[in-house]
């Protein structure tokens, strides 16, 4: 039965045309993503190496000035970003690790782009998420309704074929058609990613494939359910298109807005203001406790305590900064989680979370890098303030004449970033997978019920 369906699809040209177009888009998206990822990641790795070399090679100077010159950390772009670039255009890529303040990653690609950027980036993920269901609709909207109209449905069921068998056959055919379109692309992608990223990347690709398979499975069963329930092909097409447009264009935006209202984020100004105020208070408290005065750099604080003061500042500040940034990032994470649970109704939301999470281009990955970069900065700061306390403070009034050299610079290690592993990414995002699975089960139940409802 499935084989006959498949032949029909092929014959009437839909599979060739629609599937062909899809494949073309996927190929373009992959090629472009490949080229971009290699260029960007290559540039970042090179810059990171140069940056450290420059740090080591710097002249002798007061360590605090070196801390102001600082180091850079460049966020690497994982190979799976070729498949799903996720939020990459909307988050920064570069962080300047300097003294005194935790900063954020800067230079979002979308800042350097026009409003055209907001329409979206061509990526494999985009094509599959947005156009994938459309392909399924085009191939399957008249699966039941069309046969009913033609009268062949009556014929088939009079041969003793049970509705569930019919459903299974058609679902299999659709799935096979999709596989014919997508499997070659998947294999090619696997090969390419293996070259770029090794087993980790291939494993991630497998997980991605799983997620997309579930998503497209939901689409297949949903399309068949609607085709079975609705009396005419025209109405079936209208209903399916309405669901597709609602699910792919409308729902993500509505969900995003609602999530923001439930878990709002502060404005930049409010965030900075609050953090500044709390830092100020924390510094004062720490100074009062440990230095006996809270007048910053007042006359009571001679230069021979400059290094210690810096150290106390840093330590007091770390806790406050952690608290604020955690709160901010947690609000983002909570917004995302809320939307992923909405994936029960709108599978796209759950899939997006899964896809980005597993590809390593979601906010959790960004946060992980920010935290790692900050750890590096703190390492640098602590080493420097320790050095100052040891060597510069004893100089008293001639504190700033102290100049450190290569010995100190070399003690700051090279920044090695280890991204979240595939296993950890899986663990963190398993909820989305669960939601997708539930949605698939629901779709299967719905389809099973739908085929039995209408008489052929």
């Amino acid at each position: 039965m499935a084989r006959r369906e498949l032949t029909e699809l092929w014959r009437d040209g839909r599979l060739l045309l629609a599937g062909g177009l899809m494949l073309l888009l996927l190929a373009t998206a992959f090629a472009v993503g490949w080229q971009q990822q290699r260029a960007i990641d290559g540039e970042r790795q090179a810059a990171q190496a140069l940056d450290y070399d420059a740090w080591i090679a710097q002249d002798e100077r007061h360590p605090h000035d070196a801390a102001h010159q600082g180091m850079h950390a460049f966020k690497p772009l994982p190979p799976t970003a070729i498949v799903d670039p996720g939020i990459t255009p909307y988050v920064g890529s570069t962080i300047w690790l300097q003294a005194h303040r935790q900063s954020e990653l800067r230079f979002r690609p979308a800042q350097d782009a026009t409003g055209l950027q907001r329409f979206g980036n061509l990526s494999v993920a985009w094509v599959l998420q947005v156009l994938g269901p459309l392909l399924v609709i085009v191939l399957g909207f008249n699966a039941f309704a069309g046969e009913r109209e033609q009268g062949t449905l009556r014929l088939t069921s009079s041969l003793g074929v049970r509705p569930r068998q019919l459903l299974a056959g058609k679902a299999l055919a659709l799935a096979a058609a999709l596989a014919a379109c997508l499997l070659p692309a998947l294999l090619l992608a696997a090969g390419a990613l293996a070259m770029q990223g090794g087993w980790d990347a291939v494993l991630r690709l497998g997980l991605l494939a799983l997620g997309y398979a579930l998503y497209l499975g939901i689409a297949v069963l949903g399309v068949l359910a609607v085709s079975a329930l609705v009396p005419s092909t025209r109405l079936a097409l209208v209903v399916l298109l309405a669901l597709w447009i609602g699910g792919v264009t409308l729902a993500p935006r509505v969900a995003s807005d609602l999530a923001r209202e439930v878990h709002p984020s502060p404005s930049r100004q409010a965030f900075n203001q609050q953090m500044d105020d709390e830092l100020e208070q924390a510094y004062r408290r720490a100074w009062r406790a440990q230095l006996g005065t809270d007048k910053r750099w007042g006359a009571e604080l001679p230069l021979n305590r400059w290094g210690i003061a810096l150290k106390i500042d840093d330590e007091a500040g770390y806790a406050v900064a952690d608290q604020h940034f955690s709160r901010l990032w947690d609000s983002f994470a909570r917004q995302q989680r809320l939307q992923e649970w909405a994936g029960l109704a709108v599978p796209l939301l759950a899939l997006r979370g899964w896809s980005m999470g597993v590809a390593g281009t979601d906010f959790a990955a960004h946060r992980h890098f920010s935290v790692a970069a900050e750890a590096q900065r703190r390492l640098m700061q602590d080493l420097i303030s320790h050095d100052l306390v040891e060597h510069a403070d004893p100089l008293g009034d001639r504190h700033f004449s102290y100049q450190a050299g290569k010995n100190l610079w070399a003690r700051v290690p090279r920044f090695h970033y280890h991204p979240i592993g595939a296993a950890a990414a899986l663990r963190d995002n398993v909820a989305s997978l669960f939601v997708l699975g539930l949605a698939l089960a629901a779709a299967a139940v719905l389809a099973g019920w739908a085929v039995g409802v209408r008489k052929p």
């Binding site: 230079f107 350097d112 979206g120 995003s256 999530a259 006359a299 960004h366 004449s401």
Partner: protein, 487 residues
């Protein structure tokens, strides 16, 4: 001629009756109104929240300045001993933080229509004499997930959903008549197919545009009093005009497809394919093309060069940096004497490093701005391909949240930064103390709205990019309808 017009109005009246009875007029217009209303609600709420932030900054400014002037008086009178790093008489303290002034970009009256770039580009900067990199690379805080999804603002409804409403109404404009069987009877009367189609199209255009205009104009005029002026009304008129042109494009497309004389099913598929192509796929492909044709300069290069410039600066001023703070041993150094004050050499050096860094990378940062302007021009030129893009860009520009206006803002802030530095540099390097006159004379940022002429030219071009295809499609349809297959 008169007969044609009479026939036309009869068709229009008949269609109205038909669609009214059919409930489809209610359904589609009602749904559209609902979605637009929701979009407006979101847009208004966002803009209101952001304007409150700006207002708060604006309100707190005079307070801070008064407090600073107060402190200066006390220090000059000798009543208060100044803090070495927060000394109101010290140009280094005042210029680098204490006296910092905010540069604000106000939201336009039409801002709730299209949130555009306002969720990422900041509308305010806190300007000090420190290097540009210290304050100008920040962005507004927003969940990246939300940036990726995009806001549900009126622009979204207009660009993505209004075409669907138009198409949903008019996909089977003519093909339904043929499939129903009424076309034969209709065209056996002295009625041209063109008049028939024109009448049907006119009614649909009227209903949809009427709904859209009433909702948009009604809500915006009520919620944004600034629109009630002549300039505001002009902006609103432009917005409604562009929306109308965009809707008319889709109507003209539907009419053209109907004029082919194929079945309703064919029409539906063709129009859906057109929507998917023009609204979803083409802009994404164009994004790719524009990025390829006019790629942004490397931010990594900027970061690296900035740091290198900083290194050079540190090396150049190493002697100054190695000097010690004298306030510890000689606290009287913190008080101004005869209008002079000793500015700590380290602080002078820090300023100079920042200034030199800015100079070094000026050419590079200028390239980013030029590149963005170039991309914008490219987008404007290529928008012929996608009416969705034309509508999106033009309405965003009208709402004052387009990349062009933010670019202008950054340029003006850059100039202000230069003025700020020019004010403080002589004081810093020559050791001139800050006095109350100086506080009053410190540069203040005043946003200068770019000349309207350029905006209007852009909007006119956009209108042309929308209306020319409408005319072409209409002309083609009129020609094709002469040979319409009736049976």
């Amino acid at each position: 001629m008169r007969r044609t017009f009479r026939n036309f109005s009869r068709v229009v009246a008949h269609e109205r009756r038909l669609l009214w009875a059919d409930r489809s007029l209610w359904a589609v217009c009602g749904l559209l109104a609902l979605l637009l209303g929701f979009g407006l609600h979101n847009g208004l709420a966002e803009v209101k929240a952001r304007e409150q932030v700006l207002a708060a900054i604006q309100a707190s400014q005079p307070q801070r300045e008064a407090a600073l002037a107060d402190r200066l008086q006390r220090v000059l009178a000798g009543v208060e001993t100044p803090d070495p790093f927060a000394n109101p008489a010290d140009p280094a303290s005042v210029g680098s933080g204490m006296g910092a002034r905010s540069a604000l970009l106000p939201y336009e009256a039409m801002a709730p229509l299209a949130l555009g770039q306002s969720d990422m580009q900041p509308n305010y900067y806190r300007v000090t004499y420190r290097s540009r990199a210290s304050f100008m690379d920040d962005t507004e805080l927003e969940s990246p997930w939300h940036l990726l999804s995009g806001p549900f603002d009126p622009l979204f409804v207009i660009v993505y959903l209004l075409p669907l409403a138009v198409l949903g109404f008019s996909w089977n404009l003519l093909s339904a008549e043929r499939e129903q069987g009424t076309l034969k009877l209709l065209l056996s009367q002295p009625l041209t197919a063109l008049t028939l189609v024109a009448g049907k199209a006119a009614l649909r255009a009227g209903a949809l545009l009427g709904t859209t205009f009433v909702v948009l104009a009604g809500v915006l005029l009520a919620a944004r009093p600034e629109l009630r002026s002549a300039a505001g009304a002009a902006a609103l008129a432009w917005a409604l005009g562009l929306v109308a042109a965009y809707a008319l494009f889709w109507l003209a497309l539907a009419v053209a497809v109907n004029a082919l004389g194929r079945s309703s099913a064919f029409n539906a598929l063709a129009l859906l394919a057109a929507w998917v192509l023009l609204v979803l796929v083409l802009p994404v492909l164009m994004n790719l093309a524009v990025q390829a044709a006019s790629p942004a300069p490397s931010r990594i290069e900027l970061a690296t060069r900035t740091r290198l410039a900083a290194v050079e600066g540190l090396n150049r001023y190493s002697k100054l940096l190695a000097a010690d703070y004298r306030y510890v041993a000689q606290p009287e150094v913190l008080q101004p004497q005869d209008g002079k004050i000793e500015v700590a050499s380290r602080r002078r050096a820090q300023y100079l490093v920042g200034r030199d860094t800015d100079r070094e990378i000026e050419a590079l940062t200028e390239r980013f701005d030029t590149q963005l302007a170039g991309q914008q021009a490219l987008v404007a030129r290529w928008s012929w391909l996608s009416p969705a893009l034309v509508a999106s860009e033009s309405l965003t520009a009208l709402a004052g949240t387009g990349s062009e206006r933010y670019l202008q803002f950054r340029r003006q802030v850059g100039r202000f930064h230069g003025e700020w530095k020019a004010f403080f540099e002589p004081r810093l390097l020559e050791g001139r103390a800050i006095n109350p006159d100086d506080l009053r004379a410190m540069p203040r940022f005043a946003w200068v709205e770019p000349p309207r002429a350029q905006l209007r030219a852009g909007l006119a071009l956009a209108a042309l990019q929308l209306l020319l295809p409408v005319l072409a499609l209409a002309a083609w349809a009129a020609w094709r309808l002469r040979r319409l297959r009736v049976v």
